[in-house]
């Protein structure tokens, strides 16, 4: 069972308290963008074996969206952080990098 700490409530919420929202930190391409960019934004998602940044919603708790960094292979959770950001916090990225030097980094 996946257990994430909600950064707003501070509680350890398990998967059944949460709702997954897919890949985090998407860059939106809206009106006026090229068809290729728009297609990428709409349909193309990362599907890594390893470190992944995701959006989750604490649906039966505070109802807020937050981000989580976890490993899709080992299910290890590296950390969670509030959604009011365009990229993962530097210290979290550094922590993951230290643990997995072979990881290509965020992006």
């Amino acid at each position: 069972m996946l257990i994430l700490e909600c950064p707003y409530c501070g509680v350890m919420a398990d998967e059944t308290d949460l709702h997954g929202g897919g890949e985090a930190h998407l860059k939106r391409f809206g009106p006026g963008s090229s068809d290729d960019d728009f297609e990428t934004y709409l349909f193309h998602r990362k599907n890594p074996k390893g470190v992944h940044f995701e959006r989750w919603r604490h649906v039966s708790g505070c109802g807020k969206w937050f981000h989580a960094a976890r490993n899709t292979m080992t299910l290890e959770v590296y950390g969670t952080y509030p959604a009011q950001t365009y990229e993962p916090p530097k210290d979290l990225v550094a922590k993951i990098k230290k643990k997995h030097p072979e990881w290509g980094g965020y992006e």
């Binding site: 707003y8 409530c9 505070c62």
Partner: protein, 184 residues
């Protein structure tokens, strides 16, 4: 004024804990910036309770205040006073960006009384109830519906859910306290 009735009108069940519907309870949702002095002042003025921190519920002379999310409070007050409290809180908040709504009749409230009240909730919710102490509030789900609960004292748990699922919640709790279903 219509005759107000609670969802299950005080239905109760005696198992290894006692489950009872709490009857008419005033509930007010207050949304706003919880860090602002204006909100704290309004909460203090209408309930007498201090501002709850993350995951807490505080008690004052006229009611309890629970922390529901970073921008939402639940005021639990006397049912008859709820409308007046909404007015007083709205007036006290003035121009502050906020919302105060009387949701008394949209909720059902249950009390689970008994030494094993934590265990009964734990059967239904994914929350760690063993760490719950009086003064803490947890918003979670019971079986398939959202619910929040807190402890009034070590042997009384109060559970709040939507009125539309009141019967479902009562049936769940009734099943969970069935004699012979003790876990520990």
């Amino acid at each position: 004024m219509s005759n107000a009735v609670s969802a299950l009108q005080g239905a109760s069940f005696d198992g290894y804990c006692k489950v009872e519907e709490a009857g008419l309870t005033g509930m007010i949702t207050l949304r706003g910036d919880l860090a602002s002095d204006g909100v704290a002042k309004a909460v203090k003025a209408v309930t007498g309770a201090a501002m709850p921190g993350q995951g807490e519920v505080t008690e004052g002379a006229k009611g309890r205040v629970g922390w529901m999310s970073p921008d939402e409070l639940l005021l639990i007050v006397d049912h008859a006073d709820a409308a007046a409290i909404v007015e007083a809180a709205t007036a006290s908040l003035g121009d502050e960006h906020s919302l105060v709504v009387n949701v008394s009749d949209a909720r059902a409230v249950y009390r689970v009384k008994g030494a094993a009240c934590r265990e009964v909730i734990a059967k239904l919710a994914p929350a760690d109830t063993s760490v719950m102490q009086p003064g803490m509030l947890r918003r979670t789900r019971i079986a398939q519906i959202p619910a929040a609960f807190y402890l009034e004292d070590d042997e009384t748990a109060v559970l709040v859910c939507f009125r539309s699922v009141a019967q479902y919640a009562f049936d769940l709790l009734k099943d969970a306290v069935e004699p012979g279903g003790e876990v520990f």
